[in-house]
Amino acid sequence: MPGDLFAQALNGLAYGVLLFLLSVGLTLIFGMLDVVNLAHGSFYMLGAYAGLSLIAGTGNFWLALLVAPLAVGAIGAVIERSCLRPLYRRPPLDQVLLTFGFIYLFEDLVKWIWGGRIRSIPPPDVFSGSVSVLGAIIPSYRLFVIAFGLAMAVLLFFLIERTRLGAIIRAGVFDAEMTGGLGINIHRVFTGVFAFGAALGGLSGVIAGPIQSAYPSMGVTILIPALIVVVVGGLGSLKGSLIGSLLIGQAETFGKAWLPEASMLIIYVLMAAIVLVRPQGLFGRPLK
């Protein structure tokens, strides 16, 4: 039984780091652009499908892991430049609704190009086996996902907290207008952050592929937990996004194992409770 528990915890951790990679983009985009990007799940889905084709074409998982996010990031940049930018002067809701339209567009586009059925994605050869950890059999790919996700978390913290670019991003999240007033080309930063967030979404899609396979509704399926993470952690907070992801990852995994009847309820109840008790989320700035 302890081995079982351990395996569950690792599954939850793998799911949690996946959610982290996805929600970082969501939270940065929100913090910076004030846009709740409902199409973020679509970037995840596009990443998975781009990964699928790249792996099928080249046979190289690592190449897919590099190229697919770049492609998705480019799509994000185009969307920000062409559709979101004209809306910044309108009520913020218009931007949210615009991204809602992209959910339909991308889901159908994927069905068109790749078909509607589930497509499995093979893990890279190095991680195709399983290992035994403390008596539990764990697919080694999951351990790779955990290590990769945690490494990305460290990298992102370094990027955001310790570099000049990160300082600009943090300033933009705090007050975009003022940052622009200080001579930073805030429009370019907006495009960059949106593209970067989209690329991270794509990256998490590639990573998720070998675990969850690729299917057209995967984007909307992951969107809700990712939004919950962002709200629980605090909009615009990197730390909140990490803690929130790990929390939701464990809550959902253990919920499924222990309370299958109520498993889907748990994360919603968790979020509702946090929004009511602490509306700004665990690590968000107090609401104005």
Partner: protein
């Protein structure tokens, strides 16, 4: 201004009423679906367009109406089961959900309403007494005095009367002092608060009214289909109502009906020619948000030079 508008509304009602006489079964069913979604979209417009409360969880009340009607009609197929109980249940749920949700606003309001509706989805999806994934089937239509609603035309008349009554009621509400306060809250909540209005109470009442009406729409939906599934609670149901309101034009009520018509016609027309209807729907919606933020009604007003 009132007379041309009244005349136009009367003409529309007559045209809708006579429609089954000249059309086949499929177009009439399509129209009925539009009427039901139109009611649902109007109730959301009361919240969004007038009170400025964008809910992403309006499906909660639609679903509750549908499920309560399904359970009640199975026991006693009368108008109480078909209309009163679903509306009451949805209204009570709205009172409870609204009590919590109106404490926050903006994105947090969106997320909280979304969470509540998803809880219902999760619950109905997993419990066997509500049929789990498959939902409830074999829901009878109610016995309405003087009208056989089991026939296509009877049901059509029943829907039209209900739509007419609800539309009139909502139109009265938005033109009443209460409606003006809601618009004031939309414009500037802090100012209304400063003027001495109990803003939270107004918002909660608007939320409950919208919930009641959505409950009726959900009940009609399960009578129309003879079945109800957890999909009624799913966030896409809320999202589609949102699309209808935006496409039609927020804050116009009539726009919600037009939006429902546009959405359902687009869905059925496009899907007969191509499988790619979601793509076209998404693109249409994006174009509307970008270029016609006032929706169909806004575009018409601009073209005809009508005032709001």
């Amino acid at each position: 201004m009132t007379h041309p508008r009244l005349l136009a509304s009367a003409l529309v009602v007559v045209a809708l009423a006579l429609f089954p006489l000249g059309a086949g079964n499929y177009p009439v069913k399509l129209l009925q679906e539009i009427l039901i979604w139109g009611i649902f979209a109007m109730s959301l417009d009361l919240l969004m367009g007038y009170a400025g409360m964008v809910s992403f969880g309006h499906s909660a009340f639609f679903g509750i109406g549908g499920y309560v009607a399904a359970l009640a009609l199975g026991r006693s197929p009368g108008l109480v089961s078909a209309l009163a109980l679903p509306a009451l249940a949805a209204g009570l749920a709205a009172l409870l959900i609204g009590f919590f949700s109106i404490r926050v606003s903006g994105v947090y309001f969106i997320m909280l309403t979304l969470a509540f509706s998803q809880m219902f989805h999760a619950y109905t999806f997993q419990v066997s007494w509500l049929g789990a994934e498959d939902g409830l089937v074999g829901i009878p239509r109610p016995a309405v005095p003087g009208l056989d609603v089991s026939t296509l035309r009877g049901f059509h008349a029943y829907l039209l009367v209900l739509l007419g009554l609800l539309a009139l009621a909502l139109a009265r509400i938005v033109r009443s002092p209460f409606g003006h306060v809601l618009r004031g809250i939309h414009e500037n909540e802090a100012r209304m608060e400063a003027l001495g209005y109990a803003v939270d109470r107004y918002k909660l009442l608007a939320f409950v009214i919208a919930g009641l009406v959505a409950g009726v729409a959900g009940s009609l939906y399960s009578q129309f289909n003879g079945s109800i599934t957890p999909d009624a609670f799913f966030w896409k149901t809320s999202g589609e109502a949102l699309l209808m309101v935006i496409i039609g034009g927020t804050g116009t009520l009539g726009g919600a009906l037009l939006g429902a018509a546009a959405f359902i016609l687009l869905q059925s027309l496009v899907s007969t020619y191509t499988e790619r209807w979601m793509l076209i729907l998404g693109a249409t919606f994006i174009l509307f948000v970008l270029f016609a933020p006032g929706g169909i009604v806004g575009a018409l007003r601009g073209r005809l030079g009508l005032r709001a």
